[in-house]
């Protein structure tokens, strides 16, 4: 017997309810030790501030909790299950040694305010990671305080602003290419800069003539992703930097795509003044379903006075400590020192690779993207034939003729056992399919991916409805997002 749907991993089909629907009075998964101090009369201590009722909080047993979350987990796709080719997200393998070392007692349980004398371990981790990232980026100094990439962007732009203010003019706007991530313009707005769009040329790169005409002394910085979101290295990068610098502007680099560069080329060497990294992309810390991230910001010397405080310093006796006396600092962007647990993981990743491993990683990431590009060229439309670095962007132009769009192809890919690529981004490519395999994928896995993509292209020709109705193999079929937005149900309520 022949099946029309291809083999795909089946999700557990149990209809796991909400935890609240399993709750009943008397069930418990907790136990406290006997109190070694006298009991207290809570109403006497708290008076009107005493809480009487915890509302709809659940009461369930430990096995129920384990089963609940284990079942839920089986409804997720994950890097651990297969290729996750989300362009611009760098979904690489998350090494388990990182998780192990982050849980070592003194590292997991250090209090941020414990005396410096007993914080030397954490401070050394911060210092060593900072040094590694400075060397990798070719910059002069760094802050690890920002909690994520967008937070890093904000921190970077705050420093840009402080730098210009120190020169007597904060300037008015930030230039942002039309291929940029949405966080770039949103960040510029948070730092009170106007956003001016910069168009791309026919190669998908910054249009130098446009930049020259738009670059004035009102422009504080250009926020550039390099390689850009098409996976294309901005070949005129130094010309871009020169145009900015000639008018006193700064070059900000969004380091989202740093996985294409590590060990091969350093932003600090090609004119970048300030940039952020995403430890949860390039440096293998897990995405965890949407975070935590970490967004260190590396800068050139001229911006150093403006770093967020505190800054790690070495005392005269060789011990490490925090310096809070930074009169020109932009201030704090977060309480304490940043997502320290992510620093631990990123440092472990750097140590596991070393200089040769990091270079190899970059080479493999670029090789993999080009292998996929070659495999799918002809089957899918390649809007820009400029050489690709770590990711490649196709469009759904050929499939759109049959009424099948990038999102449909993405959903069908799920039936073949893969996570979709990034859809409909960058905005300059209508119907974009943005594919980033990372270095983690083997040739075998990529061959399967290419076959799946080709098979879907064939289905589009023969039976487009199958693709339009995809996915067919998941626990839920396509969800009604319009309904969700029109009548938001954002929490469970008892019936």
């Amino acid at each position: 017997m022949k099946h029309s749907t291809p083999q795909a991993t089946r999700h557990v089909n149990r209809n796991e309810g909400l935890i609240f629907e399993k709750s009943s009075p008397g069930k418990a998964a907790w136990k406290l030790p006997p109190l070694d101090v006298p009991e207290v009369d809570t109403s006497r201590l708290l008076g009107a501030s005493e809480r009487k009722d915890l509302g709809g909080m659940p009461e369930v047993s430990e096995i129920e909790i384990i089963r609940h979350f284990t079942r839920l987990s089986t409804w997720n796709y994950a890097i651990d299950l297969g290729m996750y080719p989300l362009g611009s997200c760098t979904m690489k393998y998350n090494p388990r040694v990182n998780e192990a070392v982050a849980r070592v007692e003194g590292i997991a349980n250090g209090h941020p305010y414990q005396p410096e004398k007993i914080s030397q371990g954490a401070l050394r981790i911060i210092k060593l990671l900072s040094e590694c990232l400075i060397e990798i980026t070719g910059m002069d100094a760094i802050t690890l305080q920002p909690a994520a990439g967008a937070h890093g962007e904000m921190t970077g732009l705050l420093m840009v602003r402080a730098y210009h203010e120190s020169k007597g003019n904060a300037r008015k706007k930030i230039l942002i290419p039309d291929s940029a991530h949405g966080t770039n313009p949103a960040t510029a707005a948070m730092v009170s800069y106007a956003v001016e769009n910069l168009k791309s040329d026919s190669r998908g790169m910054v249009d130098i003539a446009a930049l020259e005409s738009q670059m004035t002394e009102d422009v504080a910085a250009l926020m550039l992703t390099n390689p850009n979101t098409l996976g294309v290295f901005e070949q005129d990068i130094h010309k871009i930097a020169d145009i900015l610098h000639a008018k006193g502007g700064l070059l900000y680099m969004d380091g989202a795509n740093m996985n294409a560069l590590v060990g091969k080329v350093r932003p600090g060497d090609f004119g970048v003044d300030v940039m952020h990294l995403n430890l949860h992309k390039t440096f293998s810390t897990p995405h965890g379903g949407g975070g935590p991230g970490s967004g260190p910001v590396a800068i050139k010397k001229a911006l150093e006075p403006f770093l967020p405080k505190p800054v790690v310093i070495t005392h005269a006796d060789g011990t490490l400590g925090f310096d809070y006396s930074r009169p020109h600092s932009v201030g704090r962007v977060r309480a304490f020192y940043g997502n320290f647990g992510m620093f631990v993981r990123a440092l472990a990743y750097i140590q596991a690779n070393g200089p040769d491993g990091l270079r190899q990683t970059t080479e493999d990431a670029v090789l993999n993207a080009n292998y996929i590009r070659k495999g799918l060229e002809g089957t899918y439309d390649l809007p820009y034939d400029t050489p690709s670095m770590h990711e490649v962007v196709f469009s759904d132009k050929l499939q759109a003729k049959k009424g099948v769009r990038t999102m449909d192809i993405a959903k069908r890919l799920i039936d073949y056992g893969f996570h979709p690529y990034t859809t409909a981004f960058p905005l300059i490519v209508p119907g974009a399919l943005m594919i980033e395999p990372t270095e983690s994928e083997s040739k075998e896995e990529m061959d399967l991916f290419v076959e799946a993509m080709k098979s879907i292209a064939a289905e589009v020709e023969e039976d487009p409805q199958t693709v339009l109705d995809a996915p067919h193999s998941t626990r839920v079929s396509r969800l009604d997002e319009t309904l969700a937005a029109r009548k938001p149900i954002l929490r469970w309520k008892p019936a």
Binding site: S23, S49, N76, L128, A189
Partner: protein, 445 residues
């Protein structure tokens, strides 16, 4: 693979990068290490990092017990190595758990809706204030001095370029925000009043009174909650318009300050001005219940410079820890847990009061209190450290007006013996200061 691509060498892949910028040397970073060496390296760092000490530090980061199933469950690759749940059909695990998280945070805070998480309590507070600014169309912000000093610093950073003038509100002798001063500080341009409860001193604010004054002037009340465990026994600030919370206490390791879990909760009518991701319930084509990220038109990937915030990546896995913790303790356990914190703290405060001066006794507190000593707390803490005890946080840096004061914290994990030892050191310090004083008096007499 190179052959398939049609290139002779890997170097050719990097041809787009102008030759003069290519790095033709090894990065100057530590050599490649074996897994055993990496593990050893971090064990060494751990030993240099307060391993084996009993600590009385709180101040926004609390040492509570973490049930082991938290790590068992979050270590499942399907949670750990998944991306943001944009592809709903294969992200129902993450989406449903966030929906449960939003529900429990709403229940605990007494609000109608909560988001999927923010970076931490400090940035959540700053974003909550910006939300109030958008909602009221006013720009001025009144901030309590009893808000965590580092949260205040973060807010100041965020506010600088948003044209949001901040004014700081002092506290009364009971450690609570000064209501009279608030009456004077609030103007028709005030967008919101931001307070923390329990506040930085552990004192529970009179939220009803604060809300009444704020609302009377058309301003919003934003309440920051830094110690989530308090919600088990302390009435939540139901009169607040926005709550910005740090949920670290719910199963998140101290981790030298992060990653933690911020979250914003508010009323339904304000949801479209709320920053951050939101999960909503919907149905699939067959009518089956499912969950999706929703109301994305507030967010940067859709609205770009007009978004409510630039936040993208949040703290999803940490929110899952929080979620599991809340599920484990649940309706009864959270209350019992909070009661133990209250009992330990009441005991410790009473013991300290016998020898030093415990401030702010006229208002209820949760699990922190301020002890004033004759001697500089740094000196006392230095001696405690020799006994593997980390004393309370010296407050001179943040509140010089309180003199030799330190902020002490007890949780369910603070053993009575450690409290007694610490109290002993404070008693000893007071005795020696007293006898030194008496000696001087005797000499001068």
């Amino acid at each position: 693979m190179l052959q398939a691509i049609g290139l002779p060498s890997v170097d050719d892949l990097f041809a787009p990068i102008p030759g003069e910028y290519r790095l033709n040397r090894d990065l100057n970073i530590p050599r490649q290490m074996a897994e055993s060496e990496i593990v050893d390296f971090f064990h060494q760092r751990s030993r240099e990092n307060g391993d084996g000490y009993t600590s009385f530090l709180g101040a926004g980061c609390y040492f509570h017990y973490r049930p082991v199933i938290i790590d068992s469950l979050i270590s499942r690759g399907e949670f750990l190595t998944a991306y943001t749940p944009y592809q709903a059909e294969i992200s129902q695990g993450t989406l449903q758990s966030i929906f449960e998280f939003q529900t429990m945070i709403s229940e605990l805070t007494g609000m109608e809706v909560a988001n999927a998480s923010m970076y931490d309590g400090s940035t959540a507070a700053a974003e909550a204030v910006m939300m109030a600014v958008r909602l009221t169309g006013r720009r001025k912000v009144v901030v309590a001095r009893t808000l965590h000093p580092e949260y205040r610093e973060v807010l100041a950073t965020y506010a600088t370029h948003q044209g949001m003038p901040l004014s700081v509100l002092g506290f009364s002798a009971d450690g609570r925000t000064n209501l009279k001063e608030l009456e004077g500080a609030i103007t028709p341009e005030t967008a919101c009043v931001l307070v923390q409860s329990p506040n930085f001193f552990g004192t529970i604010e009179d939220v009803d009174a604060l809300a009444e004054i704020a609302h009377k002037h058309g301003a919003m009340l934003v309440v920051s909650i830094a110690e989530a465990v308090s919600l088990g026994i302390v009435e939540p600030p139901r009169q607040a318009d926005v709550i910005a919370m740090e949920a670290q206490s719910f199963g998140v390791p101290l981790g030298f300050g992060g990653p933690y879990c911020g979250v914003i909760a508010t009323r339904e009518k304000y949801v479209r001005q709320m920053p951050g991701r939101l999960v909503g319930q919907t149905v699939d084509k067959q009518g089956k219940r499912g969950f999706v990220l929703t109301l994305a038109t507030r967010e940067q990937h859709i609205r770009r410079e007009k978004a409510t915030s630039n936040i993208c990546t949040n703290q999803a896995l940490v929110a899952l820890m929080v979620n599991i913790f809340m599920t484990v303790y649940g309706k009864v356990g959270l209350k019992e847990l909070a009661k133990q914190n209250l009992a330990k703290t009441a005991y410790a405060a009473a013991q300290f009061a016998k020898h030093g001066k415990v401030l702010f006794n006229d208002a209820p507190r949760f699990n922190e209190f301020v002890v004033q000593t004759s001697e500089d707390p740094y000196a006392i803490n230095g001696r405690l450290l020799g006994h593997k005890l980390v004393g309370g946080l010296a407050l001179k840096k943040f509140y010089p007006e309180l003199g030799n004061a330190a902020l002490w914290c007890c949780t369910e994990l603070t053993p009575r013996s450690a409290i007694d030892t610490a109290v002993g050191f404070v008693a000893e310090s007071e005795r020696s200061v007293r006898s030194a004083k008496e000696e001087i008096e005797e000499v001068t007499r």
